[in-house]
C-alpha cells in the first residue's frame, strides 16, 4: 500500500478562530472521514487517524496559511484532495492548497502576523522604541521573563501592525504578549485586538512549504 505524505495549507478565520487546537484535530478527523479520502491510520492496539498540525494557533487568532499533514494510502491529485476536504469542512476552515511536504516542521523558525488593534498610535510607537520590552512568557515549565525587543524581526506600524516573531516548536513567541506589555506600559485597555497569522517562514527566509 502506498503511503503518500500529504500537506494541506488551510485558513482558519472568523468563527473558526474559536476552535481550540484540541478540537481542531477532531474537526479535521471528521472532515477526512466524511470526504472518504483513503487515509492512513496509526497501527497498534487503538488505531487512530494520523494528522499532524505544524504550528498550533492560539485560541482566538486567525490563520491565513496554516499547515497540517496526514498520509494517503492511494495516489490522489492535490486538487481533488482540496476539493473533497472543502466540501466536508466547516465554512470558516478552508483548504487553500494541497501539496507534497517539502520541509519538516522543525524547519519553521518565524511567523508573520497582521494585527488590528484599537490603540493610541503615538503611544504605541513610543512603546516599541523602549530599550527593552519585557514580557512574561508562560510555558509548561512555568513563567519566565523575556525581552521581546531583540526578537522582533520586523515591525511595521500602519493602519494595521505587521510583526514577525520567532516561531516553531523550540522557541515560539505569541504576538499577544506585545500587546499585554503595551497595556501595562500605557495603562490603556485595548478593546479590540484581531491577530492574524499571515505567513510561516523556514530558516532561509523562505515560506514554509
Amino acid at each position: 500500500m502506498p503511503n503518500v505524505n500529504t500537506r494541506v495549507f488551510f485558513s482558519k478565520t472568523d468563527r473558526a478562530k474559536y476552535i481550540s487546537h484540541l478540537d481542531l484535530y477532531r474537526v479535521f478527523q471528521r472532515a477526512i472521514i466524511k470526504s472518504k479520502l483513503p487515509v492512513w491510520y496509526t497501527e497498534g492496539f487503538n488505531p487512530h487517524l494520523y494528522i499532524q498540525f505544524m504550528l498550533p494557533l492560539s485560541l482566538g487568532q486567525e490563520g491565513l496559511r496554516e499547515a497540517a499533514d496526514f498520509r494517503l494510502t492511494e495516489e490522489i491529485s492535490p486538487d481533488e484532495v482540496t476539493e473533497r476536504l472543502n466540501a466536508a469542512l466547516p465554512l470558516d476552515l478552508r483548504i487553500i492548497e494541497t501539496a507534497v511536504p517539502v520541509m519538516k516542521n522543525t524547519d519553521i523558525v518565524e511567523a508573520e502576523y497582521e494585527i488590528e488593534a484599537e490603540l493610541s498610535r503615538e503611544k504605541f510607537v513610543e512603546f516599541v522604541q523602549s530599550e527593552k520590552i519585557l514580557v512574561e512568557k508562560r510555558t509548561k515549565k512555568g513563567v519566565s521573563e523575556i525581552d521581546l525587543k531583540p526578537n522582533i524581526k520586523k515591525l511595521e506600524i500602519g493602519d494595521k501592525i505587521t510583526i514577525r516573531l520567532p516561531a516553531g516548536n523550540e522557541f515560539n513567541l505569541n504576538p499577544a504578549l506585545l500587546f499585554e506589555a503595551y497595556e501595562k506600559f500605557s495603562g490603556e485597555k485595548i478593546p479590540r485586538l484581531k491577530i492574524t497569522r499571515t505567513r510561516i517562514f523556514a530558516g532561509n527566509g523562505e515560506d514554509f512549504r
Binding site: Y18, S20, R30, Y41, A88, P191
Partner: protein
C-alpha cells in the same frame, strides 16, 4: 448567505474571556445558513439548558433539519449561556441571539422551546428575559414572536401557561410546519396575534392556553376547564401514522467541542409496549411503532457518512423490544465494524438481554453495564408492572460477568406506592444475589472482585400514568428508607447512592401543578433561580420562599392522594390513553396484578379508539 456582522464584532470583543467560546459562536459543520431575503418565516429553536446538553438532543436535530428543508423557512439553534457568558452579555446589552445568523431572537417569528424536564422552567424565563422578550404572554401583543413549547412536559403545560402563547402536544414533525405555514399566511395578510392564535388552536395538537378558562373548588382542586370557541374542548395529541417513512435527519450539526453525546443517533422505534406504571414516556408516546431494519440501516449509513461521526447510537425507549433486534444488530454491525464505527445501545431490558445481543455490543467497547429492576421485590415489581423477574436480572448479570465485566449498576426507586420495609431490604438482597452470581462463575478471573452500585432515586408521580393519583412519599419517609438500606447493606462490594429529595419534590410539584403554580415559577425566577437541574445552581430555599409568597403549598401538589373523581389540571389534554385505563391500572397496581405488554395482549388503553384501529397492528 447572511450573518449579523455587527453582532460578530461585539462578540469578538469578549468571547475569549469566557469558558469554551466555540459553543457561543455557531458555524459548525452541518449548520444551515440562508439568505435573509429568501426567508419568510424564522424559527428560534431553544433548548433551555447548556449547549453541551441541548446539542445531544435528537428531537432538536429532527425538527431543525425538517424546517430547514423548506427553502423560505429558517430554523436556528439557541441555548442557555452559562453565568460567565450571560453576565458579559448583560453588561454589554447583548440580547440572546441564534447561533446561525447571530441575529437577536426577539426579531424571530417563533421562539420555540423543547421542554424535556420540569427543572428547566426557570431557565426558559431567563432565556426570554435575556432575549429582551417579556416573559408574560399577556404583555406580548404583537403577532411575533410567538412563544411556543413542545416536548414531554407539555402534556401538563398548566404551570407554564402564563408564559407561553401555545403548546404543541405530541409529535412535532407535521405540526411545526403547519404552524409556520400559518405564520407565513398571517404575516402576508397583516393578521393580529389573536387571529393567529385562533387559527392555530384549530390545528390538531395545538393547545392555546389563553383560550381555556380554569375554575377551582374551595379545597383548591380544579373545578372546571372551559374552552372558548373555536378552540376544541379536548386537545388531542398529534401522532405520526407512518413512522417508517417519517423524516429522519440526513445530517447533524457537529459541534467543535465535545458534548454529552457526541455521536450519530438513529431512532428505531417510538412508543413502548411495556406499560410500567410509573413511566410517563411509556404512555405518552404510544402507540408503539418501529422502523424497518433496512430503514434503520440506510439512515445509519447516511448519517455517519454525512457527519463523519465514528460512533452511532440507537434511540428508543426500549431497543431490545424491536421485533427484529438480532437481525438489526447483525445488519448494523456488519456496516459499522467495516467502517471503524462504534455502535452503542442504550435502553436494553434485562429480560431480553441475550448472549447474542451481548456479543454484538461487547464487540465494540466494555463500558459499565446498568440494569433497572426499579424495585427490590417481585411483589413491588408486580405493583409497578415492571414485568421482569429476579432470574432475568441474575441471568443478565451472569452473561455480563462471563463476558468480562466486573461492575454492574442497578437502578431503583424509593417511595413507590405500597412499598414496605421488606421491599427496601429486597433491594439489598437483589444486589447481593448479583454479587453471588459472580462467584458462581467457575471461569471467573482470579484476583478480581465484583462491584455493584445501587442508585436510588425518589419516585415522582407523573401525569398520564396509572400513578398520577398517588402521593409522593414525604421527605421523612424517604430519609428513613435511605437509612434503612444503609443499615441492612453490610457488603463492601455494594455501594449506594441516592438523588436529593428536594429536587424530586420540586419535580413532582411542577409535573402535576396547575396554572396557579406559574406564579411560583415566576417568583422563584425573580429571586434568581435558573438552571435548576444543575446541582451547583439549584437553590431550594428560594423555591420554598416563592411558593410561600404566593400562598401555595408544595405538599398540595406533590404529597396529596388524588381521588379518581378529581378533575386533573390536564384533563383537557388527550394523550390518546384514556383516564379510565389509568384508573383501572391504578386499581390493578394496588391489587398487585400485572398487565401484559402490548405484544402479548391488548389491554384497551384507549389508543386504538383514538387513532382509528391502527395501533400495534404489526405487534401480533
Amino acid at each position: 448567505m447572511y450573518r449579523n456582522d455587527e453582532m460578530m464584532k461585539k462578540l469578538d470583543e469578549f468571547l475569549l474571556d469566557v469558558q469554551k467560546p466555540s459553543r457561543y459562536i455557531g458555524g459548525e459543520s452541518g449548520s444551515v445558513f440562508k439568505d435573509k431575503e429568501d426567508v419568510d418565516v424564522r424559527f428560534a429553536f431553544c433548548f433551555p439548558d447548556t449547549y453541551e446538553i441541548g446539542m445531544s438532543h435528537l428531537g432538536m436535530k429532527i425538527l431543525y433539519g425538517l424546517k430547514n428543508r423548506v427553502p423560505n423557512y429558517w430554523c436556528e439553534r439557541v441555548f442557555m449561556p452559562l453565568p460567565d457568558m450571560e453576565q458579559k452579555m448583560r453588561e454589554r446589552n447583548i440580547p440572546l441571539y441564534a447561533l446561525e445568523s447571530l441575529d437577536p431572537i426577539k426579531d424571530f417569528d417563533f421562539i420555540g422551546f423543547t421542554i424535556q424536564y420540569e427543572l428547566c422552567y426557570t431557565t426558559i424565563l431567563e432565556m426570554l428575559d435575556l432575549a429582551g422578550v417579556p416573559v408574560l404572554a399577556s404583555e406580548r401583543t404583537a403577532l411575533t414572536p410567538i412563544i411556543m413549547g413542545g416536548g414531554p412536559c407539555v402534556c401538563n403545560a398548566e404551570p407554564l401557561c402564563d408564559f407561553f402563547d401555545l403548546f404543541a402536544i405530541g409529535e412535532g414533525e407535521e405540526m411545526n410546519l403547519e404552524l409556520m405555514r400559518l405564520m407565513e399566511e398571517c404575516k402576508k395578510n397583516g393578521s393580529t396575534k389573536a387571529e393567529f392564535l385562533e387559527k392555530a388552536a384549530q390545528i390538531e395538537g395545538i393547545y392555546v392556553p389563553s383560550m381555556y378558562d380554569v375554575s377551582y373548588n374551595e379545597d383548591g382542586t380544579v373545578q372546571k376547564i372551559t374552552a372558548k370557541a373555536p378552540a376544541p374542548e379536548q386537545v388531542k395529541k398529534r401522532v405520526i401514522k407512518d413512522f417508517d417513512s417519517v423524516y429522519s435527519p440526513e445530517n447533524f450539526v457537529v459541534p467543535f467541542t465535545d458534548i454529552v453525546h457526541n455521536r450519530a443517533v438513529v431512532e428505531v422505534l417510538r412508543g413502548c409496549i411495556r406499560g410500567c406504571r410509573f413511566c410517563q414516556a411509556g404512555f405518552i408516546y404510544r402507540p408503539f411503532r418501529e422502523k424497518k431494519t433496512n430503514t434503520v440501516l440506510e439512515q445509519t449509513k447516511t448519517l455517519c457518512e454525512n457527519t463523519g461521526y465514528d460512533e452511532v447510537s440507537l434511540s428508543s425507549l426500549s431497543t431490545s423490544d424491536f421485533s427484529d433486534i438480532e437481525g438489526l444488530l447483525e445488519t448494523l454491525t456488519a456496516y459499522t465494524s467495516k467502517n471503524r464505527i462504534n455502535l452503542s445501545l442504550p435502553s436494553l431490558r434485562v429480560d431480553r438481554f441475550s448472549e447474542k445481543i451481548f456479543e454484538e455490543i461487547s464487540a465494540v467497547r466494555k463500558s459499565g453495564l446498568t440494569f433497572a429492576p426499579e424495585a427490590g421485590t417481585q411483589r413491588l415489581r408486580d405493583v409497578i408492572n415492571k414485568n421482569i423477574k429476579e432470574s432475568d436480572v441474575l441471568s443478565s448479570a451472569k452473561i455480563a460477568f462471563e463476558g468480562g465485566y466486573t461492575s454492574i449498576k442497578l437502578y431503583f426507586m424509593l417511595g413507590l406506592p405500597t412499598e414496605t420495609d421488606d421491599d427496601i431490604r429486597g433491594i439489598y438482597a437483589l444486589a447481593k444475589a448479583v454479587i453471588d452470581e459472580f462467584y458462581q462463575n467457575p471461569n471467573r478471573k482470579k484476583g478480581k472482585s465484583p462491584s455493584v452500585s445501587i442508585s436510588l432515586s425518589t419516585f415522582i408521580p407523573k401525569p398520564f400514568t396509572p400513578f398520577e393519583f398517588e402521593p409522593q412519599a414525604s421527605e421523612a419517609e424517604i430519609k428513613r428508607k435511605q437509612k434503612l438500606i444503609t443499615e441492612v447493606c453490610i457488603d463492601k462490594k455494594i455501594n449506594i447512592s441516592w438523588s436529593k429529595y428536594d429536587v424530586s419534590l420540586l419535580e413532582a410539584v411542577l409535573a402535576r401543578g396547575d396554572r396557579r403554580v406559574g406564579k411560583a415559577i415566576y417568583l422563584a425566577w425573580k429571586k434568581g433561580c435558573v438552571l435548576d437541574g444543575w446541582d451547583e445552581y439549584f437553590d431550594f430555599d428560594k423555591w420554598k420562599q416563592a411558593f410561600a409568597e404566593c400562598g401555595l403549598s408544595m405538599e398540595f401538589y406533590a404529597n396529596r392522594q388524588r381521588s379518581y373523581e378529581e378533575t386533573a389540571p390536564w384533563s383537557h389534554i388527550n394523550m390518546l390513553v384514556s383516564r379510565e385505563f389509568f384508573v383501572e391500572e391504578n386499581k390493578r397496581a394496588h391489587a398487585g396484578v400485572t398487565t401484559p405488554n402490548c405484544r402479548e395482549k391488548c389491554s384497551n388503553c384507549g389508543v386504538i379508539g383514538n387513532i382509528g384501529g391502527e395501533c400495534c397492528k404489526n405487534l401480533r
